[in-house]
Symmetry: C2
Subunit: 222 residues, 2 copies
């Protein structure tokens, strides 16, 4: 496999050669993802991780050079997962015959599900960036790529857009959705009306807002 740009020798991690090696590494990463999210990176000892992964501390250090390397491996795993999912999600053939609102709905629903399934997904990654500032660009870069892909899916349907500047409007509408999705997720914004809505209601509300901003024309489906 080609080296990813965020990997380096600093991020040493053993190339497991046995089946159980891969399984242990996965268990360690799963344990770390949960604990780093719940308690933070520093508050989590390598012993905590080992215990939750049901292996010894020595085993952890056999697979990972040091504690940092665990965080870097989590970052790597998150980037790979994100890349794979994003690539599949924005494949043009997947959206043949779909309207702009269908695409936006797909994006919102996917994000809501992902936020629920893996709450620690991003926290761990941000930790890695703190440990090695050189990584700072990688994640935003990937998100920008996803955004651009979504935007070009939308602009391929620009006849639906009533806004005078479709380029600007489509980018701004995506920002809007991302901002609202985050606000809903944010634990200390639970006072808002946004958080009181069910997933379904939330989705419809924000889509209505985006549609009104873009001034989407009804394309005459059924």
């Amino acid at each position: 496999m080609a080296k990813r740009p965020w990997q380096s020798d600093l991020h040493w991690r053993r190339d497991g050669q046995q089946d159980r090696a891969h399984k242990t590494q996965s268990r360690v990463l799963d344990a770390a993802e949960t604990l780093f999210f719940e308690q933070g990176y520093e508050a989590t000892s390598v012993n905590n991780v080992a215990k939750r992964a049901k292996c010894s501390i020595g085993s952890v250090y056999h697979h990972f050079k040091d504690k940092k390397a665990i965080a870097f491996a989590l970052f790597d795993r998150m980037m790979a997962d994100f890349e794979a999912t994003a690539k599949e999600a924005v494949a043009p053939e997947r959206w043949e015959g779909a309207s702009i609102i269908d695409i936006l709905r797909g994006f919102v629903e996917f994000t809501l599900i992902n936020n629920k399934d893996r709450p620690g997904f991003k926290t761990a990654a941000l930790e890695a960036v703190r440990l090695d500032p050189a990584l700072a660009g990688s994640f935003p870069k990937q998100q920008r790529q996803l955004n651009r892909a979504l935007q070009s899916l939308i602009l391929a349907r620009r006849t639906e857009i009533g806004h005078p500047d479709p380029e600007f409007a489509s980018g701004y509408a995506l920002d809007l959705l991302i901002a609202l999705l985050r606000a809903r997720r944010d634990p200390d914004l639970q006072q808002s009306q946004l958080s009181k809505l069910s997933d379904k209601q939330f989705t419809e509300q924000v889509l209505a807002l985006a549609a009104s901003f873009l001034r989407l024309q009804n394309t005459g489906k059924d």
Copy 2:
């Protein structure tokens, strides 16, 4: 001074009786606010704090029972500052003759300035909540209060609102502004169009969006 609900004996802190005592406590809190924000609570040693505050570690422990007590004192200070500022900001006499858009602009501008001046303001508070989950409600409660106060300022001008449900719309519009302000602040959302705008442009953009959502009528100010 009356005890605040988030204070308790767990949050022990010496009642300084000399001038320099108050100054030292402030220096310690300032140092901690910065360091907790930059490196996180666990990664910051009490010695780090003492050094930045230009005092000894023994002095820190003279004023604060333990490391947690520093975080709690920061939380306390943030709550008090927030309360004072919010109370002044939403005083009805301050907004006599102002339109809804003036009020919203005031809110956005204030938040932008505060985010810039004290980036660690809220991080430290969130740390305290993690250390004592019983605090979890206090901050959202205060924000809700501010929101309600803003909302009632807006609803006092409901004749400007064209939206059929002013109660819902005004709450939702505030949520929208808060979400967009956060997205702009979020360091790993720097890819967005939101972050590319200047403060001035950003303010006008989000106000236009809120105005369009509320369907504000021009009240005839030239």
